[in-house]
């Protein structure tokens, strides 16, 4: 048989014709194009019923109401709760990326026990029974050894049942060393205690203010409850008020202010006193308040008259004399003025001198407890637990000196910064075990090398973190908490809010991993330890405890998501200052402007480095989410390298151009950075955002940039002992 070339070609042609007449090529083309448009590896999100779960955000102390959009059992988006008194539907960048925390790869999925060296990241998953038993064994051992005081606890939150449970546990166990992480809230509380003469929280009636004098407060950079402040700022922009920002750097707040007064860093108190000078000199103060409800005015007057003339203040602060006078006049002339402080986001407590000077201004214009002014709010009082009853061990332990020295020599409630110094130095008695909840001291504290030194001396560190943060990474045992979207918690007293309010944080979704509410852990530990400890924790679980504690308010909370005292008005002057008058001469302001010295000499370190806060960089215990990092500008962070903002004049003198790599040196540390030439920063000052440069425990979360915390030396405020460093001297040289 001779099948030639032709026959073969003919066969092919026939085949081609047949193929063309069949659906094969057309259908295949269609299918392949569909395939290439819907790759099988591209996720297809499942559809389902849409519901909203209303809860309260706890990622910062702002206390916003959030609505979690759900598709069946999946959370898909976080939105602000419309009508919520704090944020009315708005949501901040961190809040809206909260699902990246919930579903993020940094979650700790089960209790972990360290197996390698500390910080090496080698863990063994253990059961909750084991984890709790090991913790209880350690606690029993220490208690039986008669050293209950050697257990310390640090809580990231100040108010609510969670810190109260931890505190109660420590008290019943017998340790005085319970601490919370301080912020400007503590500085305000101490200022109120010293000048107003009472224990109170500061609330700011920003909705009704028509003139805000801000000493470096990042009104729209995260200060107070951020969304609430944004809304206030929008009202002011709309003509309801004026904003004056005194700050060495053109922050976003300064850029949006009506008047930006660039001030030499660290001299805010002097400016406040200079303005007080003008107000007193021109008799623009509220004489009815000053004469009836204050004490020490004459001494204060003598002090500011002698030392704080506008000329002199101009020399100290670099703000022009005329500006000082005109600012003072417009501040005093405004119908509802308000002076505020707390630098940036207010996470570093700051200097008492500054807080008191600013508070004195508020007193002069008589806006304490007045519409638009600063209000003294009662601390949340709904936690009314009896006891706890203490056994002999607890009494003996509790009588020991706190290692941070708070409460005795110092008015501050807790001073973890000093605690870590003491432990690192090995002074007094040793700390054998440390519990950390909702805080990340290994990262967050200034001079955090010192924290690391202290931690190295503590043989048993337990972290309750839901995420593998810097502190959890260095712990011995991790008892992971649910994240806020999976748990119940009360969220009282949003930072700076002017009315008593409790928000309810409740589960939007069932726990995704093998985690346990820290409240339940504490209750179970107490019950395992037995005796008076078990008696102090009679609840079956945390939810029962929460319901019991909130009592009548529980139903409101479940229904509304929050419980607010709508009719609250601050105490009138006669009640508040009737017996104990406002004191203009409290220790801290008595001697006028006392600058907070920062580390470094100005010859080796000719520049001043100031960390700044940005809404796009989270600086608290929760780090940046991938979405947030994505919003960071390329002149703040580029390919993992952080930029320092520097005035072009300063940069020119150092031979630095935009984007140049440079070595940043401070007395505390070194870092490699790039330079961003920014006309909005005072010559001689350089600035970097806080919150970057976390330990790279996860590629997508938070690895980027440089942390300012190891670069800035810690400075204790002489009055309060709280962290007061606002910067550090620095040197920048071309790399």
């Amino acid at each position: 048989m001779n099948i030639g070339r032709r026959s073969f070609l003919s066969f092919l042609i026939g085949g081609a014709a047949g193929t063309a007449l069949s659906p094969l090529p057309w259908k295949l083309t269609d299918d392949i194009s569909i395939w290439s448009q819907n790759w099988p590896w591209t996720p297809v999100p499942a559809t389902g019923e849409v519901t909203y779960a209303n809860t309260t955000c706890t990622l910062c102390p702002g206390g916003c109401g959030i609505s979690v959009r759900k598709i069946d059992e999946r959370c898909v988006k976080i939105e602000g709760t419309p009508g919520h008194p704090v944020n009315d539907g708005g949501v901040c960048p961190l809040g809206s990326s909260g699902l990246q925390v919930l579903y993020g790869p940094a979650r700790i999925k089960t209790p972990l026990k360290r197996v390698g060296e500390r910080g090496q990241g080698r863990w063994m998953a253990i059961s909750w029974e084991d984890a709790l038993a090991q913790t209880a064994d350690k606690l029993t051992e220490l208690r039986e050894g008669g050293q209950p005081q050697s257990v310390a606890c640090l809580s990231g939150r100040t108010y609510g049942t969670m810190p109260s449970l931890l505190q109660r546990f420590m008290a019943a166990y017998g340790s005085p060393n319970f601490m919370t992480v301080p912020s400007m809230r503590d500085s305000y509380a101490l200022t109120f205690a010293a000048m107003n003469g009472q224990t109170a929280m500061a609330g700011f009636d920003t909705e009704n203010t028509d003139f805000v004098l801000s000493f470096g407060s990042g009104i729209i950079d995260g200060w107070g409850s951020p969304v609430r402040m944004f809304r206030a700022n929008s009202a002011w922009q709309g003509g309801r008020g004026k904003v004056v920002q005194a700050e060495p750097r053109l922050s976003n707040t300064a850029a949006k202010s009506d008047i930006w007064a660039p001030i030499r860093p660290g001299t805010d108190a002097a400016l406040a006193l200079g303005m007080a000078h003008v107000i007193i000199l021109e008799k623009r103060y509220r004489s009815d308040f000053v004469s009836n409800y204050t004490t020490g005015f004459d001494a204060f007057k003598t002090m500011v008259m002698a030392g704080y003339s506008p000329e002199k203040v101009a020399q100290i602060t670099g703000v022009e004399k005329n500006t000082i006078v005109s600012l003072a006049r417009s501040f005093a002339r405004a119908s509802r003025p308000l002076a505020i402080c707390g630098r940036g986001r207010g996470e570093v407590p700051g200097s008492m001198n500054e807080f008191m000077a600013v508070h004195a201004l508020n007193a002069l214009v008589g806006v304490i407890n007045r519409p638009g002014g600063v209000w003294a709010l009662p601390e949340p009082g709904y936690i009314q637990w009896s006891g706890p009853d203490l056994d002999a061990v607890a009494i003996a332990g509790g009588r020991r000196q706190r290692l941070d020295g708070a409460g005795s020599s110092n008015p501050a409630a807790s001073l973890p910064n000093r605690f870590f110094t003491t432990v690192a130095a090995g002074e007094d008695y040793p700390i054998e075990a440390m519990f950390i909840s909702g805080a990340n001291p290994d990262f967050d504290f200034l001079n955090n090398q010192r924290v690391a030194e202290a931690m190295a001396k503590i043989p048993f560190v337990v972290s309750f973190s839901s995420l593998m943060d810097d502190t959890a990474r260095n712990a011995d045992l991790i008892l992971p908490d649910h994240v806020y979207l999976e748990r119940y918690e009360d969220v009282p007293a949003p930072m700076g809010f002017q009315r008593p309010i409790i928000g309810l944080c409740r589960p939007a979704v069932t726990p995704q991993f093998n985690t346990m509410h820290t409240g339940d852990v504490i209750i179970q530990l107490a019950q395992t330890l037995g005796g008076t400890l078990a008696d102090a924790f009679p609840w079956d679980n945390y939810e029962v405890c929460l319901q019991d504690t909130l009592g009548d308010q529980w139903d409101t909370l479940v229904e509304e998501g929050y419980a607010m005292d709508e009719g609250f008005s601050p105490a009138p002057w006669a009640d508040m200052f009737g017996s104990r008058k406002f004191d203009f001469t409290a220790a801290g302001i008595r001697n006028g402007f006392v600058p907070v010295p920062i580390a470094g000499d100005d010859i080796t370190y000719p520049l001043v480095l100031m960390p700044y806060d940005s809404m796009r960089v989270a600086s608290g215990a929760i780090g940046n989410t991938p979405f947030m990092t994505k919003t960071v500008d390329e002149n703040v962070l580029l390919h993992g390298m952080a930029f320092v903002q520097i005035n072009p004049v300063t940069a020119g003198s150092l031979g630095l151009r935009q984007g140049d790599k440079a070595e940043l040196t401070t007395p505390a540390g070194k870092a490699e950075v790039r330079t961003d030439l920014f006309e909005g920063i005072m010559p001689g000052v350089i600035a970097m955002p806080r919150g970057m440069g976390r330990t790279p425990y996860d590629k997508k979360l938070m690895k980027h940039g440089v942390s300012t915390n190891p670069l800035v030396s810690s400075v204790e405020d002489p009055i309060s002992g709280l962290e007061a460093a606002w910067g550090v001297r620095a040197k920048l040289s071309k790399a």
Binding site: S10, G14, K27, N38
Partner: protein, 265 residues
């Protein structure tokens, strides 16, 4: 098939002649071979294209267990919407969830082994049934049921049968066939491999949507012709020269038809 047979008969004859071939007959028989092979190729490829290819292209899975729509339809008052209902936000619930069935099927009611599977494997174990959905569109498609069903929508209210056929009267679930390349249900392209559709529910490709949308636009544009004479003339054109009058203008600038986002997401 008849052509195939004819050729098949010719083949042995030609082979038989092969021995005594002169150059001329050689040539002739070569042409014969050429023709033969052309048809062999043609027929083989037609078989491949029409019969083998569809078998290779589609794979099938069976449903977790069988379901009798007809029985259920008799028991409910509101037709399809009794189980496939609209949620308050206007979204379509689709295939029922366990919670909807549980009222009747908490325990095994009858003899049907399928019901037993449902109750013991799913209801008692609180697992949703992983139904395979014949009419499932790919992720890039936005389809609003309510927009098609509601009388108040932009398109006239359609009933379920228009697109889903008489599925509601079926007594068993046929196997779920899907395209091996695209993973899309065979019902979208239609069961006819050439794409011929006899009924409106035979296919659900983009062209089928477009066709119906064009008709709807057309109807709308006709409604908008207010003057009776214009309407009359238009109707005459439609009858005399069907399909020549341009369909009503859609909102798309690119195509003058419906804008892409109407059906894409």
């Amino acid at each position: 098939m008849s052509t195939t047979e004819e050729h098949a008969n010719e083949v042995p004859a030609e082979i038989a002649d092969k021995k005594e071939t002169t150059p001329e007959t050689k040539k002739e028989s070569a042409i014969g071979y050429v023709i033969l092979f052309f048809f062999v190729g043609l027929i083989a490829s037609l078989i491949v294209g029409w019969i083998i290819f569809p078998r290779l292209l589609y794979s099938q899975k069976s449903q977790p267990f069988d379901f009798n729509h007809a029985v259920h339809l008799d028991l409910v008052d509101e037709g399809c919407q009794s189980c496939h209902y609209f949620r308050e936000d206007g979204s379509f619930s689709g295939v029922p969830k366990l919670a909807q069935c549980i009222d009747c099927h908490e325990e095994v009611n009858g003899e049907d082994p399928n019901e037993e599977i449902f109750v013991t494997e799913y209801v008692w174990k609180e697992r949703e049934v992983p139904w395979l959905i014949y009419s499932k569109q790919p992720d890039c498609v936005f389809f609003s049921h309510v927009a098609h069903v509601s009388e108040d929508s932009l398109y006239d209210g359609k009933d379920c049968v228009t697109c889903h056929g008489y599925h509601g009267e079926s007594e068993t679930l046929r196997p779920y066939q899907y395209n091996r390349i695209t993973n899309i249900s065979r019902d979208i392209w239609g069961h006819n491999i050439a794409g011929f559709a006899r009924n409106s529910w035979d296919r659900a490709k983009m062209d089928d949507c477009a066709k119906c949308h064009a008709e709807a636009r057309d109807a709308a544009s006709r409604r908008n012709l207010k003057a009776p004479t214009t309407r009359f003339i238009t109707n005459i054109i439609d009858v005399a020269f069907p399909g020549t009058r341009p369909a009503g203008k859609g909102s798309s600038v690119q195509t003058e038809r419906g804008a892409c986002f109407e059906c894409h997401k």
